[in-house]
Amino acid sequence: MKLQILSIFIATIFTHNIALTYLLGMCPFISLSRSLKTAWGMGLSVIFVVTLTGALNWIIYHWILVPTQSELISYIVFIIVIAASVQLLEMILEKFLPGLQVSFGIFLPLITVNCVVLAVSLFMVIRDYNFIQTVVFAFGSAVGWTLAITIVAAIKEKLSLSGDVPKGLQGAGITMVIAGIVALTFLGFAGMVAIQ
């Protein structure tokens, strides 16, 4: 059991990285990887929100939706939970940690529409994870996403100094090339851990 949780964690970061193998969260991945600082900010926010909403949605799904047989509306419920927790988080930050609010504030609204957040809840249902597995999976996926965007942001910062990217490829295009090569290299971990 413990080993399985560890392997879920490692898998979500390396072998089954949510950005590099499931290709999720690409829009912010492209637009926020311009500087390391924003990448970090977004990454940390994603880690926080994904873990929180993953856990909440598990509870709601298994304790409310399943008993009442209303899985049909799970999408609506999930997205509302996500939107509400982001709102709540924003308010809490504003009230108690205004400093953090300034640095995270701009990222929070973006997160609502980040597919990583919803994807984690959907995968959790499809893969039939229990609560602890869900939390680990959510946390790991977000860490994996953050890792990927951080690497790419650092590379893009270096490119802004030393690169000479053809015009049509600047911005989104070169981000894809970088992400593609990084995804190639991440394939090297294949077989190291099994995801359930």
């Binding site: 270096k158 030393s162 090297g188």
Partner: protein
């Protein structure tokens, strides 16, 4: 040579040929050389140029190259030729389209790429790989000196993953045409059999063309270090960390983990550590960054070789650490230079 220069100059004037200026420039600079003088201080500059810098790498690669030709004959020659031709074509095309010079870096890329291929690689796969490596690994970032990943490895990795059944199933023993499916590392992985060291050192074993004559690689690698073309920190930390990790693994995790010396001499580790991890463009430029890079390569090589489905740990780990290099440099610099307040 003067005549040549004049002829080139005339060709260059022909209207339809102006587009091909990069090609003329290359020929001119190789055969004729540079006439320019410094325009202000420093009035004298070092005699080293990038051409010689890259040539030094070619020289260092000679033992491995010659050995591969000796072992595999025309197959090796054909692969090297196709690698240079196809990659060169990609390079020249980009130079013409983007109106830039053709740079020397490709001399190394073209050769290294050929040397890390299995001798049985079909020539069209060689072409696909080298073109992919040159275009996606280098030109898209702006060409020589601007790439993030090692272009030769990007090409190698791409074809490994695109054509796994071609790239991982057929190996040749030197001097024979007998195809086998096992390299020393796969043999170890499936049967825990250690190939004798003399075979590994002298090249009497299966593997990529350039990686099996390990004695020559060591000599060439030392040559690079002693000429200051490559930095000693990376090979030392890379090989050192693989050695230590596999010693620890072999002692504590059991015989599934290859013993340290075998680990060092098997597969492409020596070749990678001496010629590919040291690529200055795609590795960190800070000193501590180089140590971290080497150790990171070591850790990933160890993990991938022993615990993942692949045995090409060297290829993966160098590229992985290439991806981490800018981040490493960024963090090292952030720690080293305290910000100045305005």
């Amino acid at each position: 040579m003067k005549k040549l220069h004049l002829i080139i100059g005339k060709l260059y004037k022909i209207k339809y040929l102006t587009k091909f200026k990069p090609i003329f420039n290359v020929v001119d600079s190789i055969f004729v050389g540079v006439k320019d003088t410094t325009d202000s201080a420093p009035h004298v500059v070092d005699n080293l140029d990038t051409k010689r810098y890259m040539t030094a790498v070619i020289v260092a690669l000679m033992p491995a190259t010659l050995a591969s030709i000796y072992f595999f004959g025309w197959k090796a020659l054909a692969i090297i030729f196709v690698s240079y031709a196809a990659g060169g074509l990609a390079e020249v095309t980009f130079a013409i389209i983007r109106k830039k010079e053709i740079h020397e870096g490709f001399l190394v890329t073209g050769l290294i790429f050929a040397l890390v291929l299995p001798p049985t690689t079909p020539l069209w796969v060689v072409a696909v790989g080298v073109i992919f490596g040159t275009v996606f690994g280098k030109e898209m970032f702006g060409g020589t000196g601007r790439n993030i990943f090692n272009p030769a490895l990007v090409g190698r990795l791409f074809i490994t993953l695109a054509f796994p059944s071609i790239m991982t199933t057929s190996w040749l023993k030197p001097f024979t045409d007998a195809v086998t499916s096992a390299t020393p590392l796969t043999t170890f992985k499936s049967m825990q059999v250690v190939t004798p060291f003399s075979n590994l050192l002298l090249g009497d074993c299966t593997g990529s063309m350039g990686e099996i004559f390990r004695l020559g690689i060591i000599v060439g690698g030392l040559f690079l270090i002693l000429t200051k073309v490559s930095n000693w920190r990376i090979p030392v930390s890379y090989l050192g960390s693989v050695f230590i990790l596999s010693w620890l693994g072999n002692t504590f995790l059991g015989v599934k983990v290859a013993p340290p010396l075998f680990q060092l001499f098997a597969g492409g580790l020596l070749f990678g550590a001496m010629y590919m991890a040291t690529d200055p463009v795609s590795s960190p430029f800070t000193k501590s960054g180089k140590w971290i890079f080497g150790i990171g390569c070591g850790i990933f090589t160890f993990l991938i070789r022993n615990f993942s489905g692949y045995v090409e740990g060297v290829m993966f780990s160098i590229l992985l650490m290439n991806a981490f290099s800018p981040l490493i440099d960024h963090l090292v610099i952030e720690l080293k230079y305290k910000p100045v307040k305005k």
